[in-house]
C-alpha cells in the first residue's frame, strides 16, 4: 500500500517535469565596459529550478567527440575541425531526396540580419540568432527547451556602423562538456549550462566602447577557447586586432596574436611603410578557423586593411601584412608558424577571411596535407601545403580584375591600374565589396574530392574619400558604387564545383542562376550539395553533375548554414532562412524576383517519410 502510493507520487512528479514549460534565462550580471577577470553570475541565478527533463541526462561533449564527431551530430561550426562542412549521413541521397517532407519549423527569436549555424548534440539543437539569443530545441520535435536572452551593452545611436556591424555575421557557438560557449556582440565570452541555458561564467574580453565585438563563434581546441575579435575597422580599435586563446574552464587569457602588429616579424611592420600601429586598422579574422589536432595548429583567414585605399592609409606600395592572409598559429603558444598573403596591397575592401578547409589526400602512397580556401571576396580558390604554408596552385572562379597572376613562389601580382592616386579617383573593380565570395561558406566532399563554393558575379566602383573618423564608425574612407553584374554576364548566382588535388584545381562544373546564392552549402555522403539563394529556393545538387535534384521554395532568402543530423534512424536537414548582408547586395540584377520586405528569420527542418528511408 505504502509502496503503491509512493509510486503514484513519483509518476505524478515525472509527468509534471515532462510537461513543464521551457526555461528562460538571461545573464545575471550587467556587462561592464572593462571587466578584467571572469565573473560568475549572482548565486541566486545559479541556484534556480532543476534542469528541464529533455536535458536532464545530457551527455557531455568530450575532446574525443570534438576530434571525431559522431556522424549523427553537428557538433561545431562546420561539423568538424577541418571546416569541410561535410556530413557522412547518406539516408537522404540522390534517390530519396525528392521525398523530403517538412518535419517542423521555428521562427528565430529576433528579426534582423543573421547567419546562424545550428548545432545538434544528444537530440538537442542549439540555435543562436543575432544579439546572442540562444535557444535549445528538441531536434526531433521542435519543442523549445530553454532560451537565453542576454542584456547587451548599449551604444550611442550615432555609432551606426558599429551597431550594424556587431549584429552581423553571428555564425556559430560552441559546445564543450556540459557547456554552451558563445562570443557576444559586446566582446564578451559567455558560458552557459547546456542543460538549462543559465550563465556559468562570463568574461569581458575587449572594450566594446572602442568598437570591438565578436561576430564569429569560438573554436574549442586543446582545452582552450580560440576566438577572434571583430570591429577592427572601427576608429577606436586602432592598432589591435586579435586571435586569442582563453582557458576553457577558467576564462584566463593564455595568449593573443595581433594581426596588424607583430614585433617578432620585422617584415610585417615594414609592409605598412611609415604607418605606425596606432594608425593601422583592419586585419579582422571574421570566419571561425580550422584546427589540425595532429600538429596542434589553428588556421585563420584575415580581412582587409583599413583605411581601404593606400592613398588614405598612407602605406604606399606596402603589402600591409597580415591583411588578406592565412595564418597558421600554434595553439599551445599562440606563435605564428607561417603566413601566406592571398591579396597584398588591397585597395578595394576585398577581404580574405573566409573558410580555411583542411583536406588530406593520398597520392602515390603519401598523404598530402592541404589547406584549400576561396580566401577572399575576389573568389579565387587557393591550395596550400598546410604544414609549410607553401603555395600549390590557384584557380579563378567569378569574374575578377584585381589579381593578374601568381608567381611560382606564391607571390600574388595585382592590377596596379586599379589603385586610386587621388581623392575621388574612381575605378570599376570586380569582384565587389559584397563578393564574389562572401561569408557564405563552401563545402569539401571527400566523395568527389571537390570544393563547392557559393559565389556572386558582381563589380562596383571604388573611389577614396578623405574623412574625419568618428567614434563607433568605420575607417574605410571610400565611396562604393552599386553592385552591378560584370559586362556580358546575366546570372548573378554561381555555385562553382572545383576539383581538388595537390597539383591543380579545375572546374568540375559550374551552376549559374539569375538570383545570387545567399546561404552556405552542405555536402553529404548522400552525394548531394545543399544550398540556397535570394529567390528563397533551397536546392540539392548532384555532387557529380551539378544537376538540381530537389528544390523547395521557402519564406525568405535562404541563409546561414544548412546542416544535417540523425535521430532514431532518421536523417534531418535543417535550413535557416532570413536576411543576411548577402541577400540584398545585388537584387537589382534579378528584378523579376522581388525579395520579401519581411524579416522571415526561421529554420525549416526536413526529413524523409518513414517508409522512404
Amino acid at each position: 500500500m505504502k509502496i503503491e502510493l509512493l509510486k503514484s507520487v513519483m509518476v505524478t512528479t515525472t509527468a509534471l517535469a515532462l510537461f513543464a514549460g521551457p526555461a528562460f534565462a538571461q545573464n545575471a550580471t550587467t556587462p561592464a565596459a572593462t571587466a578584467p577577470a571572469a565573473t560568475a553570475p549572482a548565486a541566486d541565478a545559479a541556484a534556480a529550478t532543476p534542469a528541464p527533463e529533455a536535458t536532464k541526462n545530457y551527455v557531455p561533449v568530450t575532446d574525443d567527440m570534438l576530434a571525431n564527431p559522431p556522424k549523427e551530430e553537428w557538433l561545431m561550426f562546420r561539423g568538424n575541425y577541418n571546416n569541410q562542412g561535410y556530413s557522412q549521413l547518406d539516408l537522404i541521397n540522390k534517390d530519396t531526396v525528392g521525398k523530403l517532407q517538412l518535419a517542423w519549423a521555428w521562427p528565430m527569436a529576433e528579426a534582423g540580419i543573421q547567419e546562424t549555424a545550428p548545432l545538434v548534440h544528444d537530440g538537442v539543437m542549439f540555435l543562436q540568432t543575432n544579439n546572442n539569443i540562444v535557444e535549445a530545441l528538441n531536434a526531433k520535435t521542435g519543442d523549445l527547451i530553454w532560451q537565453y536572452r542576454p542584456t547587451l551593452a548599449e551604444l550611442p545611436a550615432s555609432w551606426s556602423y558599429q551597431i550594424n556591424q556587431a549584429r552581423r555575421q553571428k555564425n556559430s557557438i560552441a559546445l564543450y562538456e556540459d557547456k554552451v560557449i558563445l562570443t557576444t556582440v559586446d566582446a564578451r565570452i559567455v558560458v552557459l549550462n547546456a542543460k538549462d541555458g543559465k550563465p556559468v561564467w562570463e568574461k569581458q574580453v575587449l572594450d566594446t566602447q572602442k568598437g570591438y565585438s565578436y561576430t564569429v563563434g569560438p573554436l574549442i581546441a586543446d582545452g582552450k577557447i580560440i576566438s577572434a575579435i571583430s570591429g577592427c575597422s572601427i576608429a577606436g580599435t586602432a592598432g589591435g586586432c586579435y586571435i586569442m586563446a582563453h582557458d576553457v574552464n577558467t576564462g584566463e587569457e593564455l595568449w593573443r596574436f595581433n594581426t596588424i602588429d607583430d614585433p617578432e616579424n620585422p617584415k610585417q611592420g615594414e609592409s605598412w611603410g611609415d604607418v605606425p600601429p596606432e594608425n593601422r586598422w583592419g586585419g579582422t579574422p571574421w570566419t571561425t578557423g580550422a584546427y589540425d589536432p595532429a600538429t596542434k595548429t589553428t588556421f585563420w583567414g584575415i580581412g582587409m586593411p583599413g583605411p581601404y585605399s593606400e592613398l588614405i592609409r598612407g602605406s604606399g606600395e606596402g603589402s600591409v601584412l597580415y591583411t588578406n592572409s592565412t595564418l597558421a598559429i600554434d595553439v599551445e603558444t599562440g606563435k605564428l608558424k607561417w603566413y601566406y598573403q592571398h591579396l597584398p596591397r588591397d585597395n578595394w575592401d576585398l577581404d580574405s577571411p573566409f573558410e580555411r578547409i583542411l583536406v588530406d589526400q593520398d597520392v602515390d602512397g603519401k598523404t598530402q596535407h592541404l589547406l584549400i580556401t576561396a580566401a577572399g571576396k575576389n573568389g579565387i580558390v587557393f591550395a596550400l601545403d598546410r604544414d609549410t604554408g607553401k603555395y600549390l596552385w590557384h584557380k579563378d572562379t567569378v569574374k575578377q580584375n584585381v589579381v593578374t597572376g601568381v608567381d611560382a613562389d606564391g607571390t600574388v601580382q595585382i592590377n596596379t591600374d586599379l589603385i586610386s592616386k587621388a581623392v575621388g579617383e574612381e575605378h570599376l573593380v570586380c569582384a565587389s565589396v559584397s563578393g564574389g565570395k562572401l561569408w557564405m561558406t563552401g563545402s569539401y566532399s571527400p566523395l568527389t574530392k571537390a570544393y563547392y563554393v557559393p559565389l556572386t558575379e558582381a563589380c562596383n566602383t571604388v573611389a577614396p574619400t578623405q574623412v574625419e573618423f568618428t567614434a563607433g564608425n568605420a575607417v574605410g574612407a571610400v565611396k562604393f558604387g552599386p553592385r552591378v553584374l560584370p559586362e556580358g554576364i546575366t546570372d548573378a548566382g554561381l555555385l562553382d564545383a572545383v576539383d581538388i588535388n595537390p597539383t591543380q584545381g579545375d572546374h568540375k562544373w559550374q551552376y549559374r542562376s539569375r538570383p545570387s546564392m545567399t546561404s552556405s552549402v552542405l555536402a553529404t555522403a548522400g552525394g548531394l550539395v545543399f544550398g540556397g539563394d535570394a529567390a528563397r529556393n533551397i536546392n540539392a545538387w548532384d555532387q557529380e553533375t551539378g544537376k538540381v535534384v530537389w528544390s523547395q521554395r521557402l519564406n525568405a532568402p535562404i541563409g546561414g548554414y544548412p546542416s544535417t543530423y540523425e535521430i532514431d534512424g532518421e536523417q534531418y536537414l535543417v535550413v535557416p532562412t532570413g536576411y543576411s548582408n548577402a541577400a540584398s547586395s545585388i537584387s537589382s540584377a534579378f528584378p523579376e524576383i522581388p525579395l520579401p520586405t519581411g524579416s522571415g528569420n526561421s529554420i525549416f527542418v526536413f526529413k524523409l517519410p518513414k517508409s522512404a528511408s
Binding site: 545611436a157 605606425p276 594608425n279 598612407g314 587621388a422 581623392v423 574619400t465 568618428t470 567614434a471 524579416s599
Partner: protein, 205 residues
C-alpha cells in the same frame, strides 16, 4: 597631428575640398517632406526611423556624409540598388526626395531650387558641406540636427595616418587650421570655437 579638429574646421576643410561656399539648398523643403514619407515607407524598416540602422547601415552622421561625398554619389547608388525588394524602381522623383530628406535629417537646410536628376548638378552638391554648414547655422538655436550635433560630443578617436596631409585631389592642409574662415550666422558665446574641458568618457548607457 591633432586627434580631432573642430566642427568649424571641418566646414572649412570640406568647403576647401569642393572649392565652393555652402549654399543653403540643393533641395526644397517640399522635397524633404515628401522624402520623409517615402523614406519611412521604403527605407526605415532596415535603415531605421532615425536613420540609425541597425539592420542596414545607418545613414546619419558626418562620416556617412563624407563617404558618399555628394548627392550624386548617394543617387548613383540608391537609384540602382535600393530598396532590395524593388531595386531602382521607385522613380527618379522619389529617389531625389529621399536624398533631400537624408540631407535635411543630417542638418542641411532647404533652399528655393529643387534637386533634379542632372548628374553634374547632383555631383556639385557636397553632402558634408551642406550638412555641416546647415548644422553649424542651426546648432546654437535648435536641436534639429541630431546626427550632426552628436559628433561634437563624441570622444576623440584615432585618425588615418594621412589625416591633415595634402593628398592629390584632397583639400589643402592650411584649410584645416582656419576655423575662423566661416562666420556663424548668429552671435555666438565668447567660448565658441575654442577647446573646452570635457568629461573624461562618454556615458556607457
Amino acid at each position: 597631428m591633432p586627434l580631432k579638429i573642430t566642427h568649424l574646421a571641418i566646414v572649412a576643410l570640406t568647403a576647401a575640398l569642393s572649392g565652393g561656399v555652402a549654399h543653403a539648398g540643393g533641395f526644397t523643403a517640399d522635397q524633404a517632406a515628401a522624402g520623409e514619407t517615402a523614406y519611412n515607407s521604403n527605407c526605415a524598416q532596415c535603415h531605421g526611423k532615425q536613420l540609425e540602422g541597425p539592420d542596414a547601415p545607418g545613414l546619419a552622421g558626418p562620416d556617412v556624409m563624407q563617404n558618399w561625398a555628394t548627392a550624386g554619389g548617394l543617387y548613383d547608388f540608391i537609384h540602382v540598388a535600393m530598396p532590395p525588394s524593388a531595386p531602382g524602381q521607385l522613380g527618379d522623383e522619389t529617389y531625389l526626395n529621399i536624398i533631400a530628406y537624408i540631407m535635411k535629417f543630417n542638418g542641411a537646410q532647404p533652399g528655393d531650387e529643387p534637386m533634379t536628376a542632372d548628374a553634374d548638378k547632383l555631383a556639385a552638391i557636397s553632402l558634408p558641406e551642406e550638412t555641416q554648414a546647415g548644422a553649424a547655422a542651426a546648432a546654437p538655436a535648435t536641436e534639429t540636427a541630431p546626427a550632426a550635433t552628436t559628433a561634437e560630443a563624441a570622444p576623440a578617436v584615432p585618425q588615418a595616418f594621412t589625416w591633415g596631409k595634402q593628398l592629390p585631389g584632397g583639400p589643402t592642409p592650411g584649410a584645416t587650421a582656419a576655423p575662423a574662415a566661416t562666420t556663424p550666422a548668429v552671435p555666438q558665446a565668447f567660448t565658441w570655437g575654442k577647446k573646452l574641458p570635457t568629461v573624461a568618457a562618454p556615458a556607457a548607457n
